[in-house]
Symmetry: D2
Subunit: 152 residues, 4 copies
Amino acid sequence: MNQTESSAPLDPEVEQRVRDSFSRQGLMRHLGAELHEVSRGRVIVRLPFRETLTQQHGYFHAGGTSAIADSAGGYAGFTLFPPDSSVLTVEFKINLLAPAQGDYLEAIGTVMRSGRTLTICQLDVFGVTDKGRAQVALGQQTLICMHGKQDR
Amino acid sequence: MNQTESSAPLDPEVEQRVRDSFSRQGLMRHLGAELHEVSRGRVIVRLPFRETLTQQHGYFHAGGTSAIADSAGGYAGFTLFPPDSSVLTVEFKINLLAPAQGDYLEAIGTVMRSGRTLTICQLDVFGVTDKGRAQVALGQQTLICMHGKQDR
Amino acid sequence: MNQTESSAPLDPEVEQRVRDSFSRQGLMRHLGAELHEVSRGRVIVRLPFRETLTQQHGYFHAGGTSAIADSAGGYAGFTLFPPDSSVLTVEFKINLLAPAQGDYLEAIGTVMRSGRTLTICQLDVFGVTDKGRAQVALGQQTLICMHGKQDR
Amino acid sequence: MNQTESSAPLDPEVEQRVRDSFSRQGLMRHLGAELHEVSRGRVIVRLPFRETLTQQHGYFHAGGTSAIADSAGGYAGFTLFPPDSSVLTVEFKINLLAPAQGDYLEAIGTVMRSGRTLTICQLDVFGVTDKGRAQVALGQQTLICMHGKQDR
């Protein structure tokens, strides 16, 4: 396994594969999540605040926070996979650091270690307003690369 | 900390508090999740399949699986909390054991250890069809009881 | 992946492979851990109390608790692997439910899902005295089967 | 909760409390672990290689890796706690990124979020030789501050 160089430029075909796959995720569309940025080993997903995303106290529900964190990490890994493969989440763990609030949430998935079979990502989620940003969640995720199973 | 007796009958007022709180979760309503069963230290949430809940291969998205698992565990803990308190998820970890498919998902949150401040739950999620049920996720969750902060 | 039938009898050759491998773990010997029971998809490791195992308050250190939990889970998975393979821990998560005390700790690793590549285990650790046993830790572990890499 | 300023200078009394507490951990001594560096919200523990620390393939056992990661994170949190308190690990999760090898392991615990009750740390473990260092584990930990319970 080799640490990824996340600053390297991204092949436009890879970005297209990520965008096509993201657009097939019914849940992301239903939540209103947007694929904000795709780079090599790093993907950012944003989720604007809506009443339909809340938990009982009016903050973003941990389920929404987790959903965009999981997608951001999954696609960050996917940018490093071969063309004829797809990505599955093996597991993730997330700490909710503070009430998730803001105009939108921003989830950043970053590949920490990329192997032939398994890839490990860090997940960071921020609550953003026009006054600033505060980290609301921190997570860690294990992905598996399904070789020979093209993503549709 | 004492292990909970999950077979004990549930105070109807507690069940009402859980149901009221669940109904205030905009995300559960938006996903179409239903609070199926509330007992002492154990809560079941169901999520019928919809196109709006999918990931890129047409299965339930891990975000939806996690969302109902988190709510099931959170409210399982809440059934053991004092009346003038509320519940927050500190963290959870979930393993996705198999593609999440079925007519609906059923998430069972079970309190494993209940303390004054922290409560630990096990999270089990099953995919259910008329032919049977298969476990699709297994998780573990840490909750914190916010004393003196009534759930609205 | 198929759920394991943990009650099935264990091939004596498999038990021997597990015992040989365990005996090569320098750390288990150094801590004084014993391989107590090996069955299909389930392994029990015991750790008698010693001053050399403590944290700052005199209880078992979480590192010792985790070490035997990790070995118990790893070998539980290994009982289901083909002969020419070895086992590596991908990740684990452990909740420390109560101060780890007792005459000895008993860690039980149980396979929850066994696949060709990945295996998921539950980890339970108990503190045992002549008066009873109390659960001190609960965990979840992901293992990978290294096909074609025999365990020495 | 407020993010910690980990670059701030450390009160010598706090460092002494950390060093006293570490020296009471029988397990750290038994493994041969050394408290290498203590700064505000960040602690480094080193573990020189010994045959007594191995798993079945001759690498460092995940139990040893986890033990020093847990201690590094716990004491990183402890540097930010009030004098009359002690620290307990609620839970941790660790991904083993690569075989843990080297002349010694170096575990770095870093506080990511510090609250009155709960503190969240990141755990990084490196294998170090005279030729370089490679990350072998990445983890996340939740600590609880026991107010009014002085660390002996």
